[in-house]
Symmetry: C2
Subunit: 361 residues, 2 copies
């Protein structure tokens, strides 16, 4: 049987701003940065401390009866509760109080499915609820999250790495999840440093060039179970090259814009994502608090493509198929980088300074 190709994300152990900007960033490949000073958060952010400093600010969280969250088919519900309560709940291994026991009639269908498949869920390791917080801005629909505004007391403990110009800063986002929580594979349009402050996290990444192997639905992959994919439904998935890493507390992971990523919390853990602009500010959608709307030029191209597809609608199926392929060929010739393989290896400078890369590479 064919196996999916796997490679390890390189681990850099002596990274300062210069090394990042000259040796990591230009490669536009993911990289684990180990040993960077993230500030006192690494030692201080216990459950009790977070609850105390974060206070009773209300947060909207994802609650799921299974740890593998599925945004496309929405196997979770949203609940709002005070931050301190959430942190304690997410860190617990047993929960005394299930949100899913409080659901209204609108969630009855979900409940029905859960109960119908109770045995199967138990067999899959389902035992309790999973919780996940992705912090939001003040005005949820307009403003990106900013730790220093929503959680100023905690933000003081976290030192944002100065790897980009301050005016390129887009958002800083809390990622707090209970043990076992897995987030669907997706991409963001901003460059991203994921700081794993506490807990361990496994991250699998895929190149933007593997987009066609991931069965996208918007910015998300339909392939939920990346470790045991349904290859009958997703035969191309095997062709996606998987980049693997396990983040230890204190690690940073550079996730370049457009790289797909899937996270699996190996412990209850607290992370902070820092997003910044790779492209000029006006290249991005101005109404995009999450940083996942396609750059305006790309959105325009995709819209124009819809018009082209609409033109084909008046032709019979076999003609649509044929001219669809002619269009595909044109796009391949016009936009594909010719040697995708050669462009996704490590940044070239790496080969000159192997000392910077740890033995884990």
């Amino acid at each position: 049987m064919e196996l999916q190709e796997r490679v390890a994300v390189p681990i850099f152990t002596e990274v300062d701003r210069d090394v990042f900007l000259n040796e990591v960033y230009p490669g536009r490949s993911p990289a684990v940065l180990r040993g960077v000073d993230l500030g006192p958060c690494v030692d201080r952010w216990t459950v009790e401390y977070l609850a105390m400093k974060g206070g009773q600010r209300e947060v909207k969280i994802h609650v799921s009866s299974v740890p593998q969250m599925d945004f496309l088919h929405k196997n979770f519900i949203y609940r709002t509760l005070p931050f301190d309560e959430f942190v304690k709940k997410a860190a617990e291994t047993k929960h005394s109080d299930f949100f899913l026991a409080e659901v209204g009639s609108d969630q009855l269908d979900l409940l029905r499915i859960v109960f119908l498949h109770w045995d199967k869920l138990l067999a899959l390791g389902f035992q309790e609820e999973s919780y996940y917080l992705r912090s939001l801005g003040e005005d949820v629909r307009k403003e990106p999250a900013d730790l220093s505004r929503q959680f100023p007391d905690l933000a003081e403990d976290f030192h944002t790495p100065r790897y980009f110009e301050p005016d390129r800063f887009f958002s800083s986002v809390f990622r707090i999840s209970s043990c076992g929580l897995q987030l669907w594979t997706h991409y963001d349009v901003m460059d991203n440093l994921l700081a794993q402050v506490t807990g361990r996290k496994r991250v699998a990444l895929y190149r933007p060039q593997d987009a066609l192997h991931l069965y996208l639905n918007g910015d998300k992959s339909e392939v939920l179970d990346i470790d045991a994919p349904d290859l009958k439904r997703f035969p191309e998935f095997i062709k996606a090259k998987r980049y693997d890493c396990v983040l230890e507390p204190g690690d940073l992971l550079f996730i370049p814009a457009l790289w797909f990523h899937n996270t699996l919390a190996l412990h209850f853990g607290v992370g902070v994502n820092v997003f910044w602009r790779h492209l000029p500010a006006d290249a991005y959608d101005k109404k995009d608090p999450y940083g996942n709307k396609d750059p305006v030029a790309a959105a325009r191209a995709l819209q124009t493509l819809e018009r082209a597809l609409h033109a084909l609608d008046e032709l019979p199926a076999e003609y649509r198929d044929f001219y669809g392929r002619r269009m595909v060929q044109r796009i391949q010739n016009r936009t594909y980088c010719h040697n995708p393989e050669s462009e996704t290896t490590l940044p070239r400078s790496l080969s000159h300074k192997p000392g910077r890369v740890s033995k884990d590479l």
Copy 2:
């Protein structure tokens, strides 16, 4: 080594209008129709008779120093001469009078290449000039060819099969070529019956769904030598499924619109192509004497796609590559027939009436 899949084009031996319309045409797959009455042309069209009846009407022919004609890199020149002279020349095995000896300075580069590679050309079987006529309408740029207008005396001998409504008729075209002449792989947008009146011809066809494996440049494939393709340059070509047949004098070959075809004259031979409209008349470009301009809806879609691609130009290469792939995915989901294999097998009705298909199948 991987081999290109090959299948034989089915041969139908008892085809009348009903059988064609009910059992062949709906399948939209190529089919050899053997034993259809093409009229007295089959017996009468000797070189002498053609020269006499076709007369001295001037025709524009393709002359090449190699039998494998290459429209994309134009390895031939056009020459105009009386029809009777052309027919005699094309039927000769040795030519006393070489057109390529008369070339002007504009063809010097071609000549230089020919002479530089003389040894190689000899080794490849190059011995003499090859000739090819594709007859044209009265007003070459506006009017499709019509045998009954350009060669009324010869047209009388040829009975156009009545397999379509008369108002769907588009053109009838003489195809006369010297032995060994091979025509580049291309597609036409009209349905087409190729009547092989005299001589034998090998035809290789490829499905419209194989467009991406044929390295198209407009309506033509870049892969010239389909029998010994350069797989380093054209690695995907191996994936194209090849449909093969050898037409005997008197055979008809149904070539559905959009099917790619490549012809190789095994003898000096005379053929007539009859093209007709598969789609409603207003679906086609009105200025298209050759029947190879894309239907207006398809042309519009391809033009609109150019605008979409233009929008991507302001993004860096890696973003263009990524959004190119997003566009490709969208097109695949929107236009590709889901089971291309199942749609290109023989028409289903065939399986019920195997008696109609000869043993050569």
